[in-house]
């Protein structure tokens, strides 16, 4: 196998072959999650530290379950209960974690680039579980897996991503991933949430009218309005946002009849997505969560394999 990445820092560094290797591995691991005994001995004896310096339910749980199902020992630390609140620097925290000899550190951090910073300073593998507004590679990969399951092939798909493009790490990872896999990306959001030059990241077209953006697409991906990263100047009101950029039973009909509706979660029902659409037949939101475990199992397995080849 040609997978050579010791760290998963972002999709930007990955080739199409890397992405396909991850998706194929995840396909094979997915079956374990439907067994009665949901555990295989693959990563027995490995220690995985989930260091989440920013709030997360889904991603942390998903990484933890992925590690446990592969028989690794997973330990969680979170920002609010760690020495970070006492003023320890990220480097010192990392050095101390490393002294306890983990094999993989999974990191979520509010500052873009912190997984890269960490990867340069520790010997074990580092997996990025979301860094600031930069990348969220495992989310983009689980989105690919879900699209591939429902559409058969990612190449040639039209994918509309609607919402707060500026603050979204999910968008950046998805742009890299979709462009590499041969899909066309349409981005749409209020002008204040569309960073200039974003189209240079990949095969991207930018829209400001949501109706144009979702016309005839295969996939509609809604983004969460990130209340914690908003300043008052970006949005006049949530109600106005919902009217112009919310997905509802009327505008969802502009997409292809068999289009799927995705959301990385957590959803703000009634804001970016109406409850009718969120629970509708086109939604694959819970498939995304299910595939998230399989994708993270694949990532942990693959980096672990590269790591052991380098140390033996």
């Amino acid at each position: 196998m040609s997978f050579k990445h010791k760290h998963i820092l972002g999709i930007e560094q990955m080739s199409k072959e890397d992405i396909e290797t991850i998706l194929d591995t995840a396909d094979a691991f997915k079956e374990i999650n439907s067994r009665d005994i949901k555990k295989v001995p693959t990563l027995r004896g490995k220690t995985i530290i989930n260091a989440f310096f920013e709030a997360s339910t889904r991603t942390r749980l998903s990484f933890e379950i992925a590690g446990k199902r592969l028989s690794a020992d997973t330990v969680n630390i979170s920002g609010s209960t760690s020495s970070v609140v006492k003023g320890e620097t990220l480097e010192d925290t990392a050095k101390n974690i490393e002294a306890m000899a983990p094999d993989i550190i999974v990191i979520r951090h509010g500052h873009s680039g912190s997984p890269h910073y960490l990867a340069e300073r520790v010997n074990c593998s580092v997996v990025n579980a979301g860094d600031g507004a930069h990348e969220h590679p495992s989310q983009a990969l689980l989105d690919m897996m879900t699209m591939r399951e429902h559409k058969g092939n990612i190449e040639g798909l039209d994918v509309a991503i609607i919402g707060d493009i500026t603050h979204s790490r999910v968008v950046r990872s998805n742009i890299y991933c979709l462009s590499r896999m041969g899909a066309r990306v349409r981005l749409c959001g209020p002008g204040t949430m569309l960073p200039p030059g974003i189209e240079q990241l990949g095969n991207v077209k930018v829209y400001t009218d949501m109706r144009d953006a979702i016309k005839g697409v295969d996939v509609v991906m809604m983004l969460r309005i990130q209340m914690e990263r908003q300043s008052n100047t970006m949005l006049p009101s949530l109600r106005e946002y919902a009217r112009f950029y919310g997905l509802n039973p009327t505008n969802v009909k502009l997409a292809k009849p068999d289009a799927i509706v995705m959301h990385p979660g957590p959803m703000n029902r009634g804001v970016e997505i109406s409850s009718v659409v969120a629970d509708g037949v086109q939604n694959v939101i819970l498939d995304q969560v299910e595939n998230g475990v399989a994708v993270r199992m694949a990532l942990l397995y693959l980096v672990s394999g590269v790591e052991s080849m380098q140390t033996t």
């Binding site: 094979a28 295989v40 001995p41 672990s304 394999g305 590269v306 080849m309």
Partner: protein, 178 residues
Amino acid sequence: MSKVETAILDQAGIARAVTRIAHEILEHNKGCSNLALIGIRSGGDHLASLLRARISDIEGVEVPIGEVDITMYRDDLAARGNLPIGKTSIPFPLDGIDVVLVDDVLYTGRTIRSAMDALMDFGRPSTIQLAVLIDRGHRELPIRADYVGRNVPTAHDEEVAVTFNEDLSPQDVRLVKP
């Protein structure tokens, strides 16, 4: 230096061996009412399909069939880096049934150990039996086959190659000397 190859079994020889194994399985289990075949990827899964067809010819019953990929259960995974993980598919409950594991070549026995561990994670079969096309010796674990197509004495540095046609039926078995 070119490798020396000796043919061990041709297509007809394989077919005869599989037919005999099918009869032995049916005789030993007194029919196939409680039987399932599980092939070990890759190679054993194709042989399991062939064995299933043969059992169907004899008894007129299509026995349940599954396939197992043992990569996740290997005991040398850490030293091998990331091997590709294949699909495991056992679409029926294993509890209380007689499972015949099918593989093409039995060598150290480590693959069979891994496969048995995998099966145990799916349920508690009544029995696990082992059918192989070739037993080449050199066991490293206390494992033996219940049904053997051909015993072939080999040296460690030799290789037993089973080739399959495009339709996944076995073509021939060759002993490759270095």
